[in-house]
């Protein structure tokens, strides 16, 4: 007797579960748990990382990210407005900037800012300026496109209404268009912030003193003094302290703007 389609699917699922249990059991039996524990979960090493990982590394990661994000947002807004400008050269400049910095690895930008700029301009940036510039320059390229899309998503009628009330082009943008655009792009902007948080780890390419350590550098530094990968795991978990709430926030914002459609007709 042929099995019904539903029955067959059911048995197939049982087979999948069985395989899963088997693999898990094999790992549990044959893995050297003691070795894994010391490699990844060495509690002594983990405890030694506190409280520095919070009061220095996590704090610095947040500071570098916020500096970079703020600068990147401002620069991204300018680029977005340039890209929407009726003046050709503005559009070309913005396009070249965005395509360039979106296309090259962020790591190269960090090296250029920290090593190239001092060489070329005889300027020496402190760690905060370097973080702000490098993260901001890269972040701006991504955010500019997001902001541009947001501005274009604001219904044309909003602009017409504002202009009809006597608002100038600039006033209309500042008072009506940009606030609405940012509401629209809040979820993707939160994602940009998460990406920048992780990119802030690239700053460890330049020499940092102990007080300037951010999470990745701090993790690697601790790793070099302990034969255990625990510091890396702990540093990774510390990133989640920042990124998980942001991700949750982003999803909530998305639900809010998606659920209650703004009437645009």
């Amino acid at each position: 007797m042929a099995m019904s389609k539903r029955k067959r699917a059911q048995y197939f699922r049982y087979a999948q579960y069985g395989l899963l249990v088997l693999v898990a059991a094999l790992i549990a039996i044959f893995a050297d748990w003691e070795k894994i524990r010391t490699a990844f979960f060495n509690l002594d090493v983990a405890i030694k990382m506190f409280p520095t990982i919070i009061v220095t590394a996590l704090k610095n990661t947040i500071i570098y990210t916020v500096l970079g994000f703020t600068f990147g947002l401002a620069l991204g807004l300018v680029l977005a407005l340039m890209k929407l400008s009726s003046v050709g050269p503005y559009r070309w400049l913005a396009t070249i900037y965005i395509e360039f910095f979106r296309g090259v690895p962020a790591l190269l930008v960090f090296i250029a800012i920290s090593a190239g700029v001092p060489l070329a301009f005889n300027l020496l940036f402190d760690i905060y300026s370097t973080a702000m510039l490098a993260l901001g320059i890269v972040g701006a390229a991504y955010m500019a496109e997001t902001i541009r899309a947001g501005i274009q998503a604001v219904p044309k009628g909003q602009v017409e209404a504002a202009r009809s009330l006597g608002m100038s082009v600039v006033r209309t943008n500042v008072t009506i268009v940009i606030p609405q655009a940012f509401r629209i792009i809040l979820p993707p902007l939160t994602n940009e912030l998460i990406l920048l948080t992780k990119d802030s780890s690239l700053i460890s390419i330049i020499g940092l003193t102990g007080a300037q350590y951010e999470l990745t550098k701090f993790g690697r530094e601790t790793l070099s003094r302990n034969p255990s990968l625990t510091p890396i795991l702990v540093a990774g978990l510390a990133y989640l302290i920042i990124t998980l709430p942001l991700g949750y926030l982003s999803r909530r914002l998305e639900r809010r703007t998606g659920g209650k459609k703004v009437s645009v007709v």
Binding site: P155, G157, Q158, E160, A161, A162, R163, S164, L165, G166, M167, S168, R171, T175, I176, P179, Q180, R183, K260, V262, S263, V264, V265
Partner: protein
Amino acid sequence: MSDICVEISGLKKSFGPLDVLKGIDLTVQRGEVVCIIGPSGSGKSTLLRCVNLLEEPTGGKIVVNGTELTDPDVDIDAARTKIGMVFQSFNLFSHLTVVNNLTVAQRKVLKRNEKSAQEIALRNLERVGLSEKVNAMPAQLSGGQQQRVAIARALSMDPEVMLFDEPTSALDPELVGDVLGVMRQLAQEGMTMLVVTHEMQFAREVADKVLFMDGGYVVEEGPAEEVIGNPQQERTKTFLSRVLDPTHHGPGDPE
């Protein structure tokens, strides 16, 4: 001040190769209500949008409140504060509360202080019968309420003339009456109004003058009773019989 509020002569507008307005002349006296009717694509809305330069005319001259808008050196932002505009799709600022919709331009453009802007806003909300919606967001209002707020927003600038671009076309039928009621009341108060509309009953009762447009021209113009009640032009007759009695026409009837 002269008694002429809007004076349009030889107005032409084309979008690329498409000529939408082919030479329009129109004079609107202060306190006059002019309704513009006609089939879609006849250029009614374009004409209205030229009166506050939302559309840049290709040719001709427009003078509103003594200011020539077609002068390239005109301060269009200043001129627009005296021209109220009401759109088919309301266009309330969706990120602002009702009262802020009414005060934002008063404060940023007319530089009124917060307090007097609020007072004027409240007075105009009362005029359109929506005092209780002061702090609502636009999305919480019905279409009819949104349109009345839009009218109040335009009135808060103390305009000399109000332009209405099919103000009831996007509304559910049972909400049309509220908006028309507000407009009727405005007309009675002596507001100069230019109204593009398909509401023939409203045009007939409220308008001092009716313009019938077709194909970019004014085909017929005169007192409402004459243009709507006793049209002379064949095209006007066809249009009106279709609008006033749509069920009596098959889809294939000749124009």
